[in-house]
């Protein structure tokens, strides 16, 4: 009996391992040419999207145009990814829904959006930040999109100039950079009720946000630059998302106005011009000592994944952009690729 049990156990192991082997051997159909790789969007004009394979051996520019024989419009602000779809958000007031692996167009959302900026997803709904008329500081809103019908089904009024949007549990966090003027808040929206719960005041012009390993929301505010005649300090602000209150504010010196931020393996990276700096989660102050300087003329976007740091260069805003890939530890350049005109955002597919 014992031997039978053992043999059954052994057989089951065999079966399990066999099935594992089988799994390894079955070559799953690729979902599309752009599965597993780096997606770069460029504002333009003309705006476009580029792809670079994960192993960095192949790259292709204008993938949306190649798949659909049409351009992406002015200006391509950002992309959003949800399930097997990608959402291309264009300032002029459209979101184009594509298959994220083939970039073939599936649908267009063109009503109910005014100056859309970024999209996030929760509860089968899309949430899109909208400036409204950028000259009007009171008509800004979050558009709620039914992801099945691809229509705007609701709007949530918010403060001026909502920019990036991030989902954490049942809440949306929206940084308000202030559109054509300036703002200093992060809005918190409950996705069960689609109601604005609170706003958190941070330093001027909050834009990039990430959630760090300690579970805090980290917001980068670039402050008002000196030319405004009313310079204010840039800051990295950490927000406790349980209480929605600021736990730490790390301010920069006057004249330092970082605009980009990324996070990898416990290090928070930000920029000063084309230079890259970093602090750890427990830092009590920001640093002004660069780790290295990228090859970018106009550093315009950054992202990090799997021991690599990615940077896009908008160059002179008219030439083709550049993507630079650096090693996370040695800060040495691994490779570079041509990227869209005014390359601005980096995504991992």
């Amino acid at each position: 009996m014992k031997r039978i049990i053992l043999s059954i156990f052994a057989m089951s192991l065999l079966i399990v391992s066999c099935s594992e082997d089988n799994d390894d051997n079955i070559s799953t159909e690729p979902l599309g040419a752009y599965e597993d790789g780096i997606i770069i969007s460029g504002e333009g004009s003309p705006s476009s999207i580029s792809y670079i394979s994960e192993d960095l051996t192949t790259s292709e520019n204008q993938i949306y145009f190649n798949a659909n024989n049409e351009a992406t419009g002015v200006y391509l602000q950002s992309l959003g990814f949800n399930d097997d779809k990608a959402y291309i958000v264009v300032d002029a007031g459209t979101i184009t829904v594509v298959n994220r692996y083939t970039f073939e167009k599936l649908a267009t959302i063109s009503t109910g959006l005014t100056y859309p900026r970024y999209i996030a997803f929760a509860n089968d709904k899309g949430y899109v930040t909208n400036w409204g008329d950028p000259n009007d500081e009171t008509d800004d809103f979050i558009a709620v999109v039914d992801l099945t019908a691809n229509t705007v089904i609701n709007t949530i009024p918010v403060g001026n100039g909502p920019e990036q949007i991030l989902v954490e549990d049942n809440f949306l966090y929206v940084s308000h950079k202030g559109a054509f003027s300036t703002n200093n808040i992060v809005s918190v929206i409950n996705t069960s009720s689609d109601v604005l719960t609170t706003t958190i005041t941070v330093n001027d012009n909050p834009d990039e946000m990430i959630v760090d390993n300690t579970g805090d929301l980290v917001v980068l505010s670039s402050g008002k630059p000196a030319w405004t005649g009313d310079e204010t300090k840039a800051a990295i602000t950490k927000i406790d998302m349980d209480t929605n209150t600021v736990s730490t504010t790390l301010e920069f010196s006057d004249g330092e106005h970082p605009e980009l931020m990324m996070y990898l393996n416990g290090n928070l990276y930000y920029n000063l011009g084309s230079s890259v700096l970093s602090i750890t989660d427990d830092a009590t102050a920001v640093t002004s000592t660069p780790l290295f300087t990228t090859g970018a003329t106009t550093l315009y976007g950054m992202a990090a994944k799997d021991d690599r740091l990615y940077f896009v260069d908008a160059v002179d805003y008219t030439s083709a952009g550049q993507l630079f890939i650096y090693d996370e530890t040695s800060y040495s350049l691994i490779n570079s690729f041509t990227a869209p005109v005014v390359a601005s955002k980096i995504y991992f597919n």
Binding site: A71, G73, V74, D136, H257
Partner: protein, 616 residues
């Protein structure tokens, strides 16, 4: 800065021919008797071509189309009827001066003229002067200058023309021109209104130009009065008021709207003294725009500049061989706008033009100019030109000049970014021309070289905003060929006009061709008239242009070369000694070609225009 032109000097002496050739009804560049004395007397070594009023009235197309199909100029037009900026010999839009009755009307805000805010039908002639003209015409006359002229004749007459047209995209145009004179008074008035939905189909797509509607109205009113046998007073006025939606791109419709208001008024007193023919001019120009990012709101940004100008000049015949023309001018500019406070600028300029004609074969011109400007130093400008009649049929022309383009209000005062340390762009050039005239055929060859330094370019700076700097250097060189033949066989009139330009315009650091400058551009106009009927065909070839500095070809890096043709037919329904009715039909884009002039901004499909014109 600009000295005002001596108009109609010849008219005063009663020796002007009407600016209509025998092939009046034929669409071509008419060589007219020039009314601008500077253009007539002080431009012998330059290529000067003219579009007479017959062409302006017959071919009532936009100013952009008129020049695109009849000259070497290249235009960058953001979709039909939208912002249109010229490139003259590969220079940029702020290096082409537009001169209204002798005064530069380039915007003080942008430095350029939007050619879709000028209605040409109210002018008697449009003259294209190729080559540097800053000494005569001030800032921006680097590639060349375009002159819009009204003439006031004191030959007794009373002429009226009413034109009505209707065309595709609900395009409606009404125009009225009236001209009256006796030997003391001369009046002419032109009123024009155009309105279009401009919602043309984007060929090969299911989209239309949804936000491209425009309307504009313009009034030109000019009065001349003979005060005494020596003194004549003239008043010129032009108003242009227009509203345009700004169409988007192929994939992104737009909601933007733009309003223009331009007012120009000039009073001129001329005195024909014993020693000199002198003129005093005072003028006021106002430009005003409003930009609505979203047309259905009341939120807009604006810019406005008032220019006040006083100018004195004299034409002196020092001897029979030698003519001298000194000019002094004072300009005051005051601006206001959403992006700057209330800056102002002053300019005082002195100019001397000298023309020497030792014999029938040679003409020499030598000209200098110095400006004193608040805010920055202007260079000493000069130009020279020589014309040599080798034979009766063959003339050699050469001219060289130093020219400039001053920083604009936007360059200096825009917040943020405006740079008060800018200096004017300066440019040297040389132009060699050959002109062969035989009977009613004329062939021109020109080769030119232009080098421009301290080019003002807006660049992102380290503090995160854009700021202009005097950084770029460019060189332009190329060749132009123009052929103009008219032929009459009994009652059949034929004419052929061809223009071709090869243009290299490159950044001296990268040696790359500048964006939106085609290497090749050519057009052909064929016309035929027989009795009451006339027919014309025009064809344009516009070479590929790069849209990025790297000079790559392809959908995202360049705009493909295109060819487009128009066909027109006109019939004289009725004619008596004092009355005439013409009807005409024009087909634009005859072959229904899909083309773009600026990347991702399609141009119209085949469209029609029907016109009826009554002269009495």
């Amino acid at each position: 800065m600009i000295r005002v032109v001596l108009f109609f000097l010849l008219l005063l002496f009663g020796s002007v021919a009407k600016s209509q050739t025998p092939t009046d009804s034929i669409q071509k560049l008419d060589e007219v008797i020039l009314s601008d004395v500077k253009l007539k007397r002080y431009a012998h070594g330059y290529k000067v071509t003219a579009l007479g009023d017959s062409l302006l009235q017959k071919n009532r197309s936009s100013f952009t189309d008129l020049l695109r199909f009849n000259s070497n100029l290249y235009f960058k037009e953001n979709g039909y009827g939208m912002v249109s900026s010229p490139s003259f010999r590969g220079t940029n839009a702020s290096q082409t001066a537009v001169i209204w009755n002798g005064i530069s009307i380039n915007s003080q805000l942008t430095g350029q003229t939007d050619f879709n805010t000028i209605n040409t039908t109210n002018f008697n002639s449009v003259i294209i002067r190729s080559g540097g003209g800053s000494v005569q015409y001030g800032s921006g006359a680097i590639g060349g200058s375009i002159h819009l002229n009204n003439t006031l004749s004191f030959n007794p007459h009373f002429d009226n023309t009413v034109t009505l047209s209707y065309g595709s995209y609900e395009t409606k145009n009404i125009g009225y021109l009236s001209s009256y004179a006796n030997d003391k008074w001369s009046f002419n008035i032109g009123v024009n209104y155009i309105d279009s939905d401009n919602d043309y189909k984007y060929l090969n797509t299911d989209k239309r130009n949804t936000n491209g509607a425009y309307y504009n109205g313009s009034v030109n009113a000019n009065v001349g009065h003979v005060l005494s046998s020596k003194d004549v007073l003239k008043l010129y006025h032009q108003t242009f008021i227009g509203e345009r939606e700004f169409s988007g791109t192929l994939s992104s419709p737009s909601l933007a709207k733009y309003e223009d208001e331009n007012f120009r008024t000039m009073l001129e007193w001329s005195r024909n003294g014993d020693k000199a023919f002198s003129k005093l001019k005072v003028a006021h120009l106002q430009e005003h725009f409003k930009y609505f990012g979203t047309k259905n709101t009341e939120n807009f940004t604006f810019g406005k500049v008032n220019t006040y100008l006083i100018n004195y000049t004299a034409d002196i015949d020092v001897s029979t061989d030698l003519k001298l023309k000194p000019i002094v001018s004072y300009n005051y500019y005051e601006g206001s706008g959403s992006s700057f406070e209330d800056p102002n600028r002053q300019e005082f300029s002195t100019t001397a033009l000298l023309q020497y004609k030792p014999n029938e074969k040679w003409q020499y011109g030598l000209n200098i100019r110095q400006d004193i400007t608040s805010g920055f130093e202007s260079p000493l400008l000069f130009s020279f030109d020589i014309a040599y009649d080798v034979t009766n049929y063959y003339t050699l022309k050469i001219n060289g000049s130093k020219n400039y383009r001053v920083p604009t209000f936007n360059d200096l005062y825009w917040q943020p970014g405006g740079n008060l340390d800018l200096v004017p762009e300066t440019s040297y050039q040389i132009d060699l021309g050959q002109e062969i005239t035989y009977k009613s055929a004329k062939l021109n060859f020109n080769a030119f070289y232009i080098k421009t330094t301290d080019l003002i370019q807006w660049k992102p700076n380290t503090t995160g905003f854009w700021s202009p700097e005097n950084i770029a250097k460019t060189q332009n060189f190329g060749a132009e060929a123009n052929l103009d033949i008219t032929k009459r066989i009994k009652t059949h009139h034929f004419s052929l006009l061809m223009n071709y330009a090869y243009t290299v315009s490159e950044d001296l650091e990268t040696n790359a061709q500048l964006i939106y400058v085609p290497y090749h551009k050519a057009n052909v106009n064929l016309a035929y008239a027989y009795k009451r009927m006339s027919l014309f065909f025009q064809h344009l070839y516009n070479g590929e242009v790069y849209t990025t500095p790297e000079n790559l070809s392809g959908r995202f890096y360049s705009v493909e070369a295109y060819q487009v043709s128009n066909l027109g037919v006109s019939y004289q329904l009725f004619k008596t000694k004092s009355q005439q009715i013409d009807v005409s039909l024009k087909v634009n884009n005859l072959f229904n070609t899909a083309y773009e002039n600026v990347a991702f901004r399609p141009m119209p499909d085949r469209n029609f225009n029907f016109q009826i014109q009554y002269k009495f």
